[in-house]
């Protein structure tokens, strides 16, 4: 059985590109069923305490207002159901909107006006009067509350200590000790969270359009709250205007829209404001401490890494932050610790490269400090301590072309031109610095299902309840299907974002290509077998004696070795059955457990720092990636460009600034929460090194959504040190810290 169609591995423009550039791709808030009414949510202005009075009289008096929902009139039926968890909920008690008068964090949703128009609902929301009883104290600063840090059975244990890191550190002559602080960051996808909910009172069913990274997440959440069978909740999410992790868990507008739709028996649309986009999960603030030591040859003698991550008072959100320090470099003495600090904030949520970008920021800055101390080139230090095996688990890697990443990046970037002495490279008033870092991310695979229907018109539709949050799922899955079955790309449609489709994991963790892609490939192999079996019945004169191993599936034709061929359409139209349908469930292969599967990268960065003003620019980034087989070089490159851009934001721009007295985010808008804009991004070179991997999954592809970000912030911080001689250990590195 041979397939000669080269569709994967070829740069392909997006199949949904036309919809996106013409404004015809429908996002959640753009569905307007008949009789639609609009909800507008009101949020608390204190962080801890109780609501003593909530007066909705004036709001209800406004013409066009249908109802104002508060904890006082929210239906008892949704309060008595305890299950507000969603598939991604961490241990603890999930937040229950309108459950009672308690305030758990500043920005908590406490009421919603429903009116005939958006403008009316927004206006009436401003007329609601709320009185609170508050202690006036809030605990929101991680560094001031390290004494509250805890660990318990709900937290995953970091890898066990190996050797004796403390002793080795004491005995080493070359060593560093450094601590790094990272602020809260907010996802801020461009599309605000939105839900359009419709309740069918006769059938007792929900039809919900929701912004989410996996429809099963919203479906499970709503079914739990309203005590319904999942099948009675249909969730649609065909286009998602960015997620970055924020849509891994359903957000509160979903609850409000569904609850109001059921109570009022009207379709309800609720869209978050940009300010409200700062009122739920975020990347947690994190404080990290490192102690590293080497012998005089640069061989690591000890690694100690301790991290404190923030969580809320009601859930224990954890990230994998310290494990990377045990994994990355060959070292016999390692000690890793991770603790949580509960604060008066909403539960943090996975945000692009959660944990990895945080832990590797710390580790790769610390490695740079160690290289300086040891007088060894930072790249050389990484090579000296290169790990051929997973240092935490002792397993071989399924593939690891990190050395190729180092050499390709160094060559492209011109690393050999780096001047080791800080402040020694200068052009006019501009200090020039070079920095580098290693990146790593897990190459995971989850269980996934897929369905294929091939019709007599010659069109193949493959479907799975996954998402395309901008990653290119529609395009890549269609490529995999077209290549496997042997059809031109334009004869294939991939459907997603509908909870009635075959079950898929949520889109996150860089695992969609690996998981859903494997299911798509498997269902198309199954389809091919069915086409062949059908052909043996419909065209016995051609295929009765032949074997599928001798068959070719290409260009819409089935052929056998001696050149005899028949088109798929002829086979399908040969009898009344017409179409062929097949479904599969795929899961990771068993032998995968014997290996460690990771994506790797090397990031090299040039920064320019204005000597007098401290302004930092990033004119040049080279990121070399070992990510297995690249299914679509075009969309793959875009993933890395995006990740690098996020790394720039993390390094020099992004910071959720908290007024710790009120527990309130002060810069909850896009003018004051700085994210990269066009002028912040200049030259970015993306290199995909060749990496063959027959273990990671049947495609050999590893996933690219996060790896572009990991390491980038550290490389920038290290380049800033090389440029200025100043080691800024608190992100973002803004000009005030350099002056």
């Amino acid at each position: 059985m041979k397939v000669l169609n080269n569709i994967t591995g070829v740069a392909t423009t997006r199949v949904d590109g036309r919809k996106k550039v013409t404004g015809t791709a429908p996002y959640t808030a753009e569905f307007n069923p008949a009789n639609l009414v609009h909800g507008y949510i009101v949020n608390s202005t204190i962080s801890t305490g109780t609501i003593t009075k909530i007066d909705t009289t004036k709001a209800l008096d406004v013409a066009g207002v249908r109802e104002v929902f508060t904890h006082e009139n929210a239906p008892l039926s949704v309060k008595i159901n305890a299950d507000y968890s969603d598939p991604m909920a961490p241990p603890g008690s999930p937040f229950r909107p309108l459950y009672n008068d308690q305030i758990l964090y500043n920005g908590q949703p406490i009421a919603m006006v429903v009116a005939d128009t958006f403008e009316t609902a927004r206006y009436a929301a401003g007329l609601i009067e709320v009185a609170y009883n508050t202690s006036g104290k809030s605990t929101t600063n991680i560094k001031d509350n390290l004494d509250r840090a805890f660990t318990d059975d709900d937290l995953p244990d970091p890898p066990k200590p190996r050797g004796n890191a403390k002793k080795a550190y004491q005995e080493s002559e070359i060593k560093i000790e450094a601590a790094y602080l990272q602020p809260r960051e907010y996802h801020n996808p461009m599309e605000p969270f939105a839900t359009v909910a419709q309740w069918d009172a006769d059938e007792e069913r929900f039809l919900i359009y929701d912004k989410i990274q996996g429809v099963a997440s919203s479906q499970g959440y709503i079914a739990g709250i309203f005590n319904m069978e999942k099948e009675k909740v249909r969730v649609l999410s065909e286009f998602v205007g960015g997620g970055f992790g924020s849509g891994l868990r359903p957000q509160y507008q979903l609850f409000f829209a569904a609850m109001a739709a059921k109570v009022l028996n009207l379709p309800v649309k609720v869209v978050m404001t940009r300010k409200q986009m700062f009122s739920f999960g975020h990347r947690p603030a994190c404080f990290q401490e490192f102690k590293l030591s080497t012998d005089k040859n640069g061989k690591l003698t000890s690694i100690q890494h301790k991290a404190y991550g923030e969580t809320s008072q009601f859930e224990k959100y954890t990230e994998t932050i310290v494990d990377w320090s045990g994994l990355m470099y060959a070292c016999e003495n390692v000690e890793l610790n991770y603790k949580l600090v509960p604060l008066d904030v909403y539960t943090p949520n996975d945000m692009r490269a959660p944990g990895g970008t945080t832990g590797m920021y710390g580790l790769e800055c610390a490695m740079d400090e160690l290289a300086v101390k040891a007088g060894i080139d930072p790249l050389e230090l990484r090579l000296i301590n290169y790990a051929e095996k997973d240092q935490n688990e002792g397993k071989p890697f399924s593939s690891k072309e990190l050395k190729a990443c180092y050499s390709r990046a160094a060559e492209k970037f011109g690393w050999k031109n780096r001047k080791a002495e800080p402040r020694s490279h200068k052009e006019g008033h501009t200090l020039i610095g070079y920095g580098m870092a290693t990146g790593v991310w897990e190459a995971l695979q989850q269980k996934a299902s897929a369905k294929a229907i091939f019709t007599a018109e010659g069109h193949l539709t493959v479907s799975a309840a996954t998402a395309d949050i901008g990653t290119g799922t529609y395009t890549v899955m269609a490529q995999i299907a077209a290549e496997t079955v042997g059809l031109p790309l334009e004869h294939v449609t991939f459907k997603l974002g509908d909870s009635t489709l075959p079950k898929s994991p949520i889109e996150g963790g860089s695992w969609t290509v690996s998981s859903v892609g494997s299911a798509v490939k498997m269902v198309c192999v199954s389809l091919r077998e069915k086409i062949y079996a059908r052909a043996q019945e419909t065209h016995p004169e051609l295929f009765a004696e032949s074997m599928i191993e001798d068959a070719r599936f290409e260009k819409g034709e089935l052929s056998i070795r001696d050149g005899r061929a028949v088109s798929f359409m002829e086979i399908l139209n040969a009898d009344e059955r017409k179409s062929i349908e097949t479904s599969v469930n795929s899961e990771p292969a068993e032998n995968r457990d014997n290996y460690s599967c990771y994506t790797h990268s090397c990031v090299m960065v040039e920064v320019h720092v204005d000597e007098d003003l401290g302004m930092i620019r990033v004119p040049r980034v080279v990121n070399a990636i070992a990510g297995g087989k690249i299914i679509n070089p075009k969309t793959a490159e875009s993933q890395i460009l995006g990740g690098v851009t996020w790394g720039i934001g993390m390094a020099i721009e992004e910071e959720g600034m908290m007024d710790d007295r009120e527990g309130r985010i002060m810069n909850a808008n896009l003018a004051e929460y700085h994210m990269p804009i066009n002028a912040d991004v200049q030259e970015i070179d993306v290199i995909f090194v060749e990496e063959k991997d027959e273990i990671v999954n049947p495609l050999g592809a590893k996933g690219l959504g996060e790896i572009g970000m990991v390491g980038t912030a550290a490389a920038i911080a290290n380049a800033v040190y090389n440029a200025t001689g100043k080691r800024i250990r608190e992100l973002p590195i803004t000009l005030d810290k350099l002056l």
Binding site: E30, A671, P676, A679
Partner: protein, 166 residues
């Protein structure tokens, strides 16, 4: 506190993508909400509603503006073009085609605004240096981080001296 029960509505007439359209709305309705909620022209996006992200960019008399910072009533008698009005039938505007070819978007939510800003830039005959392109395209945030490719698409349009108009 004094408050009004509900503002009066008025009939307005807008020149939208080459056709004249009437609508009865309250004066407080922004051009953005009028487009999205009343005319179902949902290609124009709401990202912040505060003129900080550029997702709502449309062309008014050929100039790119943030439609969230303008009331619909204020735009009567002017030529309003949204992303839906750029293509000529099945033929995409060259800027739309360039965005597809350069993969200048990922999630696509900021894309209509980016495209309208590009057309506005071409109408101004600006973007003659890389710095100027990056500067003039900096009113449109792309959280996916497609800037490097957006830059390439705009640069190609400037170099080819493509005319912006609608």
């Amino acid at each position: 506190m004094e408050y009004k029960n509900y503002p009066e509505t008025h009939e307005i007439e807008l020149q939208l993508n080459g056709t004249s359209q009437k609508l009865t709305i309250s004066p407080w309705t922004t051009l953005l909400d009028a487009l999205r909620e009343y005319f179902q022209l949902t290609g124009t996006k709401k990202g912040c509603d505060h003129g900080q992200c550029g997702a709502c960019t449309v062309l008014v008399d050929g100039k790119a503006i943030n439609s969230c910072l303008s009331l619909a009533m204020m735009q009567q008698g002017k030529k309003i073009t949204t992303v839906e009005g750029l293509a000529q039938g099945e033929n995409l505007h060259p800027v739309q085609q360039a965005f597809i070819e350069h993969d200048a978007f990922q999630c696509g939510y900021c894309t209509p605004g980016q495209i309208c800003s590009t057309v506005g830039l071409l109408n101004m005959k600006k973007g003659n240096t890389p710095e100027e392109i990056r500067d003039l395209m900096s009113g449109n945030i792309c959280r996916c981080g497609a800037y490097a490719n957006i830059f390439k698409a705009v640069e190609e349009m400037v170099q080819k001296e493509v005319s912006g108009t609608p």
